[in-house]
Amino acid sequence: MSRNTVFNEFVLKFGTVNGSGSASANFLCAKVLFRMGLPVSAKNIFPSNIQGLPTWYEIRVSEAGHMARRAGIDVMVAMNPQSYKRDAAEVVPGGTLIYDSTLERRFDRDDIQVIGIPIARLCAEHWTDSRQRQLFKNMIYVGSLISLLGLDDGVVEQLITEQFKSKPKLIEPNLKALHIGRDYARDNIDTPIAVRARMSDKTAGKILMTGNEAAGLGALYAGATVATWYPITPSTSLVENFERHASKLRRTEDGRHNAAVVQAEDELAAVGMAIGASWNGARAFTATSGPGISLMAEFIGLAYFAEIPLVLFDVQRGGPSTGMPTRTQQSDILTCAYASHGDTVHILLLPGDPGECFTMSVDAFDIADRYQTPVFVMSDLDIGMNDWVIDELTWDDSRKLDRGKVLDAAALDAVAEFARYRDVDGDGIPYRTLPGTHPTKGSYFTRGTSHTDTGGYTEDGRLHAQMLERIKYKIEGAAAHLPKPVIDIRDPEARLAIVNFGSTDPAVREGLEELDREGHVMNHMRLRAFPFAQEVRDFAEAHDYLFVIEQNRDSQMRHLLMTEADILGPKLIAVPNIDGMPLTAAFVREFVLQALRRLPGYGEASRIVAQ
């Protein structure tokens, strides 16, 4: 340990081959650091294939709490010769690269510290079975990090013991491999590396969870009973998590569980089933990604126009088309906001981390039932599949599900006339009934064709227009009851602000701090729902320019801010990012600085006093 060692602020990256078992070893490291009390952010950068290609895992450790991805690797564990070149190039000057020195390699960098550990040889010395030789390699490099990086011995061993609880025979050899790595590094490497982890206390009350697990749990807590889906990266694990938790938490006495999960034949069927179930009074949802949304478009229009509650999770990935299935983007915003032909506008919820995936997932069902309309939860690969540090999940046991305006048999007996599509309360929201409720009252005909307020078929254009206007009014009315934007007034005098949503938030917040340090204080609004609340307009009103940061090419949220929040285009500065990687603060800072230079009067320092 040198005097200049940086503690608890670094990026550790693993370059491995997929399908080689490295994923769980890498996750183990993230968990160890987390248990050491350190905020970590773990990004899995994996190929769209199953085995044999380069894959990476980045762990940023930041005691200060910066949880965005950060470029510039401090410690690279380069276990994949295919990617040596790229991996070496990413290491910061003075950083460290650890590789398997069983065969000699050169990395063409004099400015980094290259540490060779003869991992394959060590494995060969201790194991004969080839599968074991392969697997334990991973544990050897983890072990080496105990010595080299300061992973806590006890925490690692504790975690390994927990991990193999159900297969106790595996604990021993894993610990053995761990120790081989630890001891080799301890005994053979004496030059200390520039960064190091040590125990802290910054993760009390926190957990490490993916957004897909949180969203799946949210659906469970929302009382969803029907999940119909079609596998697609990166949304698959959402439904899998729903099912897994349901099978435990919803178990009935006879060993079944109160939920139906059906893998449909495609996305059209998946959403059709969700609509059918929802129409019939179950809370139902589907989860998919961009291509699935495209396929669901026709059905989404039906749900909108026939006013059927529907919850869709869009875990966004790199588009267009099949695009970059294992990379992250926020590029389905326009597609979802206006999904389906004809005039349609849909409610979008925009979770900013896995914690909000949980809460917004629950909210989505209430909102869908209340407004009888599709609700999209717009997650993305970064939130959905990566482990984030979030607050422990909590639940308010007094919370009741809001099933919206559903008339039961008694209520039907009490009303003079039931008209499915009539605006009785002046809020644009009609009452609905469920099939089978009452022998003679409340039945109606659901259709995607134009209809009267009792659900009868009509070709009277004025009635059709009224119906559409009411639906528009209903959805506009929802705006005030959706999750509000999170507004951070860092300086009441600031004339500039950053607007963002979703997974870019850690990068934006870190970027704001950096800009602040350089004299550019800006306010911040993170959007959490569409259609926009009044607060969004007010915030825009209060600033001269808004930098709209989003991970898509065409600045889709900026479009919506112009057209649906009436913010003038020139006020909204587009900050698009489309390389498919989780956003970095550096990107935010650089892009904003560049743009500032082009803004007359704001270039030098933007701590500008209101005129």
Binding site: R250, A277, W279, T449
Partner: protein, 351 residues
């Protein structure tokens, strides 16, 4: 045009069933189909079957796609909820509805365009999932509502109004359903109410996926002399392979019958299906022999009607995937929402 509800005066002499409902109560709004359309006869048969089965009308959900045929769900069972979804995708909506509440009766009505073209994928998978529903395809070999294009069930020999041939072989929905392991597969003719009503009754009672492919002529676009889906052609080539009756009460079940000509199958609810063979050699429960038998009829140009196939293992989607007995849409919030308790363990597992 708004939908026209039939005048609701009650004829004092109309018979009521055990539900206190008359035949009229099983009707819907006035049909807007062409006079003479086969689909209206199917509607009438459904009304009759539901009346005879003494179904509580409101416990039926009427599911359909888009087309003249799909419109008909509005023309029967006014006390039921109906769902006229999108073209070709009724099976998924019906599957979802069924998942939510396994206790209602699901009656799907579709057309040959809706089923065999745009909807064939969903049809195949609804069959495979054994969704507990009766699926009636009102098959006229044409796209009625879009004015007479050929559909995929149109026979190769058949000509359209302009005298053009279909260049392709037709899709036989019954064969396909049998191949896929459907539970109950029948073919009938809209012009033969005596055959159709008991088939509908049995199809509703069957637990699992029941298909009735009803040849239902389109008088406007496909009833000319060169069409194999015309009234005339079907009347002339109809080959009834058997007669089916649904026998509900144990008293009736005891009644004897000429042995050898009949095969009885007891349904899950205790009622019996009595199948009287008209074609000695045809056994609708033998998967191995029926497809070749049907192929022989086809080669002779005959339209085999009646119950074509019955899988006695009545098992539906819910049993296959093991959902609870209680309808999912009726389970109390308290049984669904785990509450704050289990979160402690979940949080702990994520540290």
């Amino acid at each position: 045009m708004t939908h026209i509800v039939k005048p609701q005066f009650r004829h004092p002499r109309l018979a009521t069933n055990s539900q206190g409902l008359t035949r009229r109560d099983y009707e819907g709004v006035i049909s807007t189909l062409c006079a003479g359309c086969g689909h209206d006869s199917v509607t009438a048969a459904i009304v009759e079957a539901c009346f005879e089965l003494e179904l509580p009308a409101h416990r039926v959900a009427k599911m359909s796609g888009i087309g003249c045929s799909s419109k008909t769900t509005n023309y029967f069972l006014n006390y039921s909820h109906g769902f006229n979804s999108v073209h070709g995708r009724m099976p998924s909506v019906a599957t979802g509805a069924n998942l939510a509440n396994r206790e209602l009766t699901y009656l799907g009505v579709s057309g040959d365009g809706d089923t065999a073209s745009i909807g064939i994928g969903q049809f195949v998978h609804a069959v495979r999932r054994r969704v507990n529903m009766l699926y009636i395809c009102e098959n006229n070999g044409t796209y009625g509502l879009t004015k007479g294009q050929f559909s995929a069930t149109n026979d190769r020999a058949s000509k359209n109004r302009k005298g053009l041939d279909t260049p392709f072989d037709s899709i036989d929905l019954c064969n396909m359903a049998i191949e896929l392991g459907a539970g109950f597969v029948a073919r009938s003719f809209s012009g033969d109410k005596a055959q159709l009503v008991p088939l509908i009754k049995a199809g509703i009672r069957y637990k699992g996926f029941a298909l009735i492919d009803v040849i239902s002529p389109c008088v406007t676009f496909n009833n000319h002399t060169t069409s194999t889906k015309s009234y005339e052609y079907v009347r002339d080539h109809n080959h009834m392979i058997g007669r089916l009756d649904l026998v509900e009460t144990s008293a009736e079940i005891e009644a004897d019958y000429a042995p050898g000509t009949s095969a009885d199958v007891t349904l899950h609810d205790g009622s019996q299906m009595r199948f009287t063979k008209l074609d000695e050699s045809y056994d609708p429960t033998n998967r191995e022999t029926i497809l070749p038998a049907l192929e022989r009829y086809r080669q002779r140009g005959e339209v085999a009607t009646g119950l074509l196939y019955l899988d006695k293992r009545e098992a539906d989607l819910h049993e296959l995937i093991g959902t609870p007995d209680q309808p999912l849409n009726e389970i109390d919030e308290r049984a669904l929402v785990p509450g704050s308790g289990p979160l402690a363990a979940i949080n702990a597992a994520h540290r």
